[in-house]
Amino acid sequence: MINMEEISRYLKQYKGRELTFMEVCGSHTAAVIKYGIKELLSDQIHLISGPGCPVCVTPSAYIDRLIALAKEPNTYVVTFGDMLRVPGSRQSLSEAKGEGAKTKMVYSPMDLLALAKENPGITWIFAAVGFETTAPVYTLLLEEAEKAELSNIKLLTALKTMPKAIEWLINQGAAPDGFLAPGHVCAITGSSYFNDLAERYRIPFAVSGFKDTELLAAIYGLVRMSEKHAAGVKNFYPSAVEDTANRTAAAKLNTYFTVCGAVWRGMGMIEGSGLCLKEEYRRFDAGSLAITEDTKKNQGCLCGEILMGKKEPGDCPLFGGACTPGKPQGACMVSCEGSCYQHYIGGI
């Protein structure tokens, strides 16, 4: 059994072949910066950030659609805080407020229930973004809305799932030597969720938690697997992640949602990488299926390439100049889990 001190020493003194690992969870990106993890690795080990922040991968057409809905009479668009500042093709929701867009920020989608009950004359549309982790929460909202017979709650969905997007990245040639698999996602899906990818593409996956030691242990796991040319999924977050899926969450997702294509900012439409409402629940949908493409606000923005791990935030000509958290040009600079935002505020 190796201890933390030995792991730290190993990672700092590693002199083997150059290795690049991609984290595909926004919380991992944030934690890597928060704990200063890159400082603790040898120059031979690189970490790059993939498309793991749900806000960052939301295409501008989706924001445009939210703005249009928020301007309709008797309609409110309800979001998490980050979404308000994400740029659409012309403006963000928060900028559109001055032009009559009606928005409300909540901490939980469940807050919609009270809003809808108290204001039956208003349609409440939730900007339902998120990955496998967030999607089950929306099923709880729909369940309650059905029970209470509320017809004034709708979702504009931009729900994403990881495996097809990772496969797309690999096929685009952005293949790293291994993936830090998202711990929160795996808590819902089980670590076996990535088995198929790991086997078919012979790439190591390490499921990681979000503490400094958990990240180091998972990175160590990836280095060791790479050295042995071993593929497969290793779970370094057993306190929260099991091999198999959380059955309750999976059942609820299957009830309301079905697999569909999804548009990723900077990456475009990827078949099978999203979740949308099933036919029988389409009455809750606010037009999500009409969103099929992505347009850039600022042509210089490298958000797409950065999300694919092909470029670092510092490579973007706009980074830190035209694009800052105060006036973001791309979504990676908006969300507190975006890689540009994290590099801007925490980079050494």
């Binding site: 730290s8 926004g26 919380s27 910066i33 928060k34 704990y35 200063g36 993890i37 890159k38 400082e39 603790l40 749900p54 806000v55 998490f80 805080g81 980050d82 500042r85 920020m105 901490y107 973004v129 998120g130 990955f131 982790t133 967030t134 929160h184 400094d212 030691t213 180091l216 958290p325 105060g326 507190c336 889990e337 935002y341 801007y344 505020i345 925490g346 980079g347 050494i348």
Partner: protein, 333 residues
Amino acid sequence: MERITMEHGGGGRATGELIESVFADAFSNEILSAMEDAAVVEGSAHIAVTTDSFVVTPPEFPGGDIGRLCVCGTVNDLLMRGAVPKYLTCGFILEEGAELAMLRRIVRSMAETAREAKVQIIAGDTKVINGNGGLSINTTGVGFVPEGVSIHASNSRAGDAILISGNIGDHHAAVLSSRMEMKNTIKSDNAPLNEIVERLCESGVEVHVLRDVTRGGLATVLKELAISAGLRFEIEEEKLPVDPQVRDFCGLLGLDPLYMGNEGKLVAVVAGKDAERAKKIMQNAAYGARAERIGSVFAAKEDFDRGKLVLHTKIGGKRNLDVLQGEGLPRIC
């Protein structure tokens, strides 16, 4: 239940009764009781003046209320220039429908805190507006700066020690918990910091900068001080005092205690040689029990080093800290 009505703001009988029964009673002192249009008070050569408006919701929260807060906030701002706080004025903006019993509790709490902070409330005003039963308070504070005291934001020097007077993030976490109806025992730290400042200044410790750590949190305050002095500030994550419950609360919501507001904490930048003594003094003063030295000030080696704030993480990494961006919202996944 008695509530505030528009008549209470009309300037007639109801206004008179409100002032008499709620404010005059609680704040009574010779200057205020004269009910003049302006208070005339004794002065000093160097006068510190500050003003602040308080709009917190809910107005009563675990560990405090807007009344205590509006005294502490303004008194602490005066103290941060090394001034001895003397007088406060207060302006109440009451919303129609505000509960009179709540107003009484808040006013009483204000009076009590003013006594604790050794300030007199010498002038006031009340207005009533349409609304939903809330209230806002503005306080202006006046204090006297003793001869020879020079404490200001750009006064940090290379070799100085950085100290914090206690746990960070408590107020923010308490208000947020209350707003989100989360059950925990986190309490606001709202408190007047007179004793810490008085004792530090009397002790002969070379105090260069004092700043209260309010909105924006510790990181924002230190970054501003680093920029203002053109020096490099370094702090140790391991030394940062954070209540375990606040830490867990932040973890749950994706918040960072470094960016969360307090209402009864200060940062002191003192000469390095006085660091240990300053820490002991703070620890023995009211509201300073968990005071800690958290870092040091360095000369900027290169231009890009100026105004840098670096955090040494527990595990040995490094991270740049900037001022708070946006509003510090809970994360979504």
